[in-house]
């Protein structure tokens, strides 16, 4: 197991130490001064998350208005360290009930020290699961008054819990109504040339689950992914269905997923933790269904006038619709006056981002609204600086649509008591960085 940290510092934006915890004595106490001097006070802040000063390496990450800095002096596993930070922040958030910022840290520093003692030992990461830690670190964080009230739960045998085979789930949960919620959330990243050819395109997706199930249920998830389907057809010795199969790249699972079974049977089977969790993450680069096509024509008429025509076409099913569509069409810095004509939604010029912003609240499928705008520019002396034409950016959300075409084929729940469960499945596709050159 690699060392992840010799010391952890939480600093505010000015560089004051909010919390520090030294796990090993191979780094001195003045390390944070070095960080302040050589990273925070230089322009290099934010350029590279890993820096070496003297014999020590600094890994840092900014979360809201706090810097979390890990210092190691040996050859540490960087990925492990960053994963630790991310998980720790998630843990803190679940304790504080939402925000993780300077104020929350100041209000909870006793709790944080207690947690820091628990989640890392002599530089080695330990159990970071909030569900489990909450069993024995019972001190509640100071919650904001708006978050939900803590429930008075009995303290079960924590030791057994941690050392048991299913470390992430308590025994003896009982729900009146057994429900499973499953969301597939995808975000589309696209870079398209002005001619409409795709330069770069991928989808990153995650499957989020929320379980309210009694006892120790065993779940099995079937997707329309290629490997799973092939394996299934092998097992059942019948040809694969002609339907579309999806090739998933870079799949990562939550720790509850039984990887041996995944390797042998290619099925995702797991005993879920109680409550909300992220079951898996994946990436798709082939066969992406783009929800929108954008056809821009931008003409510069002389030095002081521009004509902008943008047509946006929704290519998903006519019964579906996209929400919160925002199209940002960049214009030169010296834009003075604009006038618009749009077939739906509203458009305006935002000087602070140098863009024409076109908002369409509800965008049905298989339609193509257009925007035509006239832009007047003010003349300047510095004509040499030609306009660089940054790409058009787009934001949207399309419910019940997956850009990858991924579908849940089944979600089976087995439990000893054999209760009935209700399964809810949702799909949603969002824009990641959805850019079209113009």
């Amino acid at each position: 197991m690699p060392v992840a940290a010799s010391a952890i510092y939480l600093l505010n934006l000015r560089g004051d130490v909010l919390i520090n915890r030294l796990y090993r004595d191979d780094v001195g106490g003045n390390m944070v001064d070095a960080f302040r001097m050589h990273i925070m006070q230089t322009k290099e802040l934010g350029t590279c998350p890993v820096r070496q000063i003297g014999g020590c390496s600094f890994f840092y990450m900014r979360i809201s208005n706090v810097y979390i800095v890990i210092v190691v002096s040996s050859n540490a596993n960087v990925a492990c360290a960053f994963k630790f930070v991310v998980e720790a922040v998630a843990l803190f958030k679940s304790y504080f009930g939402g925000a993780f910022d300077e104020d929350a840290i100041r209000n909870n520093f006793v709790l944080i020290y207690e947690l820091l003692d628990e989640i890392m030992d002599f530089g080695y990461p330990q159990n970071l699961s909030p569900e489990i830690l909450k069993l024995y670190i019972t001190q509640e964080g100071v919650r904001s008054p708006f978050s939900s009230k803590p429930s008075d739960k009995p303290v079960p045998n924590a030791t057994l819990q941690v050392t048991g085979a299913v470390g992430w789930r308590r025994e003896g949960l009982v729900y009146k109504k057994n429900e499973v919620f499953l969301d597939i959330v995808e975000s589309v990243n696209l870079l398209m040339s002005s001619k409409g050819s795709v330069l770069r395109c991928d989808v990153t997706g995650k499957i989020l689950m929320k379980c309210f199930l009694s006892g120790m249920p065993d779940l099995k998830l079937g997707l329309n992914d290629k490997i799973g389907l092939e394996k299934e057809s092998q097992l059942k010795s019948r040809p694969a269905k002609s339907g579309k199969t999806i090739e998933l790249d870079d799949v990562t699972f939550h720790q509850c997923v039984n990887l041996t079974r995944f390797n042998s049977e290619k099925t995702v089977s797991f005993v879920p933790p109680d409550g909300e969790f992220e079951l898996m993450k994946y990436r798709i680069t082939e066969g992406v269904n783009l929800p929108f096509r954008v056809l821009p024509t931008i003409k510069e008429l002389g030095r002081t006038r521009m004509e902008v025509n943008v047509k946006v076409k929704s290519v998903f099913g006519a019964k579906m619709f996209a929400l919160g569509v925002v199209i940002k069409i960049p214009v030169p810095k010296q834009t003075a006056k604009t006038s618009f004509q749009v077939t739906s939604g509203r458009a305006k010029y935002q000087a602070s981002i140098d863009c024409l912003v076109w908002k369409i609240r509800k965008f049905p499928g298989q339609t193509e609204p257009t925007l035509s705008a006239e832009v007047e520019l003010i003349s300047t002396m510095a004509e040499k600086k030609s306009w660089t034409r940054p790409p058009i950016q787009m934001e949207f959300q399309v419910p019940m649509f997956t850009a990858s075409g991924l579908r849940v084929r089944f979600l089976k729940v087995w439990e000893k008591s054999g209760y009935n469960t209700v399964e809810w499945v949702r799909y949603i596709t969002k824009a990641g960085s959805y850019e079209i050159r113009c």
């Binding site: 010296q334 834009t335 006056k337 935002q350 000087a351 602070s352 300047t380 002396m381």
Partner: protein
Amino acid sequence: MTMHGMRGLSVFISDVRNCQNKDQERLRIDKELGNVRNRFKNEKGLTPYEKKKYVWKMLYIYMLGYDVDFGHMKAVSLISAPKYPEKQVGYIVTSCLLNENHDFLRLAINTVRNDIIGRNETFQCLALTMVGNIGGREFAESLAPDVQKLLLSSSCRPLVRKKAALCLLRLYRKNPDIVNVDGWADRMAQLLDERDLGVLTSSMSLLVALVSNNHEAYWSCLPKCVKILERLARNQDVPQEYTYYGIPSPWLQVKTMRVLQYFPTIEDPYTRRTLFEVLQRILMGTDVVKNVNKNNASHAVLFEALALVMHLDAEKEMMSQCVALLGKFIAVREPNIRYLGLENMTRMLMVTDVQEIIKRHQAQIITSLKDPDVSIRRRALDLLYGMCDVTNAKDIVEELLQYLSSADFTMREELSLKAAILAEKFAPDLSWYVDVILQLIDKAGDFISDDIWFRVVQFVTNNDDLQTYAAAKVKEYLDKPAVHETMVKVSAYILGEYSHLLARRPGCSPKEIFSLLHEKLPTVSTTTIPILLSAYAKILMHIHPPDQELQSQIWAIFNKYESCIDAEIQQRAVEYLALCQRGAPLMDILAEMPKFPERKSSLIKRAEYSEADTAEQSAIKLRSQQQTSNALVVTDQHPANGATSPISVGELSLVKVPSMITSENDTSTDLSQQNGALSNVDTQPPSADLLSDILGPLAIEGPPGATVQSEHNAISGLEGGSDAVDGSAIVPVEEQTNTVQPIGNVAERFHALCLKDSGVLYEDPYIQIGIKAEWRGHHGRLVLFLGNKNTAPVVSVQAIILTPAHLKMELSLVPDTIPPRAQVQCPLEVVNLRPSRDVAVLDFSYKFGTNMVNVKLRLPAVLNKFLQPIQVTAEEFFSQWRSLSGPPLKLQEVVRGVKPMPLPEMANLLNSFRIMICPGLDPNPNNLVASTTFYSESMRAILCLVRIETDPADRTQLRMTLASGDPTLTFELKEFIKEQLISIPTAPREAAPAPAAAQPTPQIPPNDPAAILAGLLS
């Protein structure tokens, strides 16, 4: 300002100020800029009020650092608005946003001109202010006459004329041609009659600029300036508003005195007297008071007055008054004042005569050295350094040494360097110098640069009587428990060379010395180990009879280092071991190092380069001036290679020029190669700088080495010819005869000087003429040192230079009388116009007692001095050689009756004439090929190529071919070389005299500073 009611503007500003961070601010600004652009585009709808408001906003945004180039046009267009509020905004914003190179400004020129020639004074002021701030060349061309008219007009109010003067100053700086010198000088003088002090101050600024360019034309202003100064100093007719803390317009005073400093001198006695009265008044009237502002003002005036006093070369009395005043300043507790006092005192050092007076404040200056403020300490150090001379050197250096241990680290290096330089220059005796440097190394080892210890090694090597002392001294230091590495280096070197001189003393047997040194070996770094190894080898060599035990011990060490990873150490170990094993005869190679050739202290050179501060610079400059004045000795103490070492001259030259022996392969060259490698550290990059400074000149510079040799030839003959002691400049006076016979052969001396740059040109019982020359390109600077050797003055001294046509020579004034036992120097500038073999002659006459002596001496400003050796590659050589075909550019001649000499000797001879032999270019080993460049004013540098074919059967004849780009040069150079080959000064090459005879110890009369220095610098 008319910003009342501009609600939009103040709301915007408060918005921006309320922004939490830079991003928010940027968003707010971008939004506002979008708004402003939108408004500017709505040309019709903008009221003057709105225009003004948005332009103000734009200015504010610009001041926050954002780009607002779209709005320049708007700002410039506001200038032409008819009403004051808009016009004012236009002018102010334009002068903030635009600079003189902006194209938009061109659009405004006409409007601005209209405002200037208009009747409205307010508009005139606005326009003049803007032009005064951002006016460029074009403004200068089109507006200058109008501005001049305004400045001179009597109907204008002083306010406008004041601005006009400053505006004209700006325009003048942009384009000096706008002020017509002839016409303007009178008007300027007329302007100085002005009674209004405001106008006068502005005009004085203008005058400073005018005079700094050309003071000749403004002589007429000089008395008026003095008059103004007088008026101010007497506080006559100075209105209350121009009095600052009781001082009448200090700014005007300072500027006026600045103007006066641009005039070289003041001739009119009345004016001069008045001025000195005024200065006297200023000097007398200034004192340190409580009020800071008053102090600032009065000191500004005072220091300007001091500068003026120095500039005018006031009488000694006034100078001493100045120094006394400064002495008061440096005793004040207030650090700023003390700083100024010290700095100005350093400046005062530039002026002659005051040094003695400054010395009185030495104690006070030394206390400043302990001031808590580092800048004061630095100034004090500079001043001490500057004021040091022979009389107080001992005190000051002691003080610096004492201070060194408490000084802070940032200063130590500088401090130690300065202490070392002072010790070197003003040492009353050499052992003191050695003491000081060793103490320095002991106290501040980390801050001692290599130059310092190289220098001490050079001194010890060159002074035989110092060697024992130094060896004993370093041993004492080595006995101490903790020794700095630099000290180990020095002591290893010195003990290696001279520990055998101590051998009789208790505790100094070679064995003990060795173990003392060897103790340090584990603690030192790789740069020191080579020196230690050399020391071991030398110690081993000096033991007679050989000590088997020590030998095996040392061999074991060499053995161990034979596989060292450091190439330098490894090579030394291997070579020393091989040398030791060869036995006694070869040990000669490890004999004592020969004397170093005399050269300028690298420390002083370094000090000259390293300093940047102005005051420091001045101190250094001063020092370097003194340097030349102290260098009154031109000794002939040539390095006595041949004398001390039994190796024959030829062998030595082989060692010195390793490139010449690479082809041969017998044992002797093998060995000399090894020796060459020992000293030729330069060839090994990792340790190139280790000893190169010490050993460099011996090992690397081939041609000077050869020079040394032929010098020796020339001078050993001279020694045979006369009893004159060659080693010291000033000869004991006893053996005087009445007949004035030159001591030594004048012709020989001339020939020797043709080859080297310093030496004695002429000497007789009364007088000695030394020469020191520096040659750079076609320029040369000779310094004649006329030294009176007797206790009576030499009078009616006359020196006339008979200059040949091809040279331009300027001899500075030669004093009529040379005081007893003094030496005067006369610099002589030489410029070479074209090639010629003619020689300049110095017609020198003087009268001593009743003897009138007249000698005609040839000056060694000969052809070869303007040559610069240059190494050419084979391609370069042959392409040049072929392109210069046939006479007159290429001449060939068979020379007969050449003095027979071996080929290497001839090569050395040519090298010593700065004609560089290029070995390997000619396949025939009997031929020599050489190249050089010739510098003259008419032609600059010309490459000359020489080829000499010798006949091994008949050494008395050879064929010589010369080529260069100029026919005269080719001819003259050919003749010159021919002369040299035929009429070489035939020095009788007698057996090398015993070392003691060759190196007469300079007898230093204990109380003669000149002679002491002579010994020191020899």
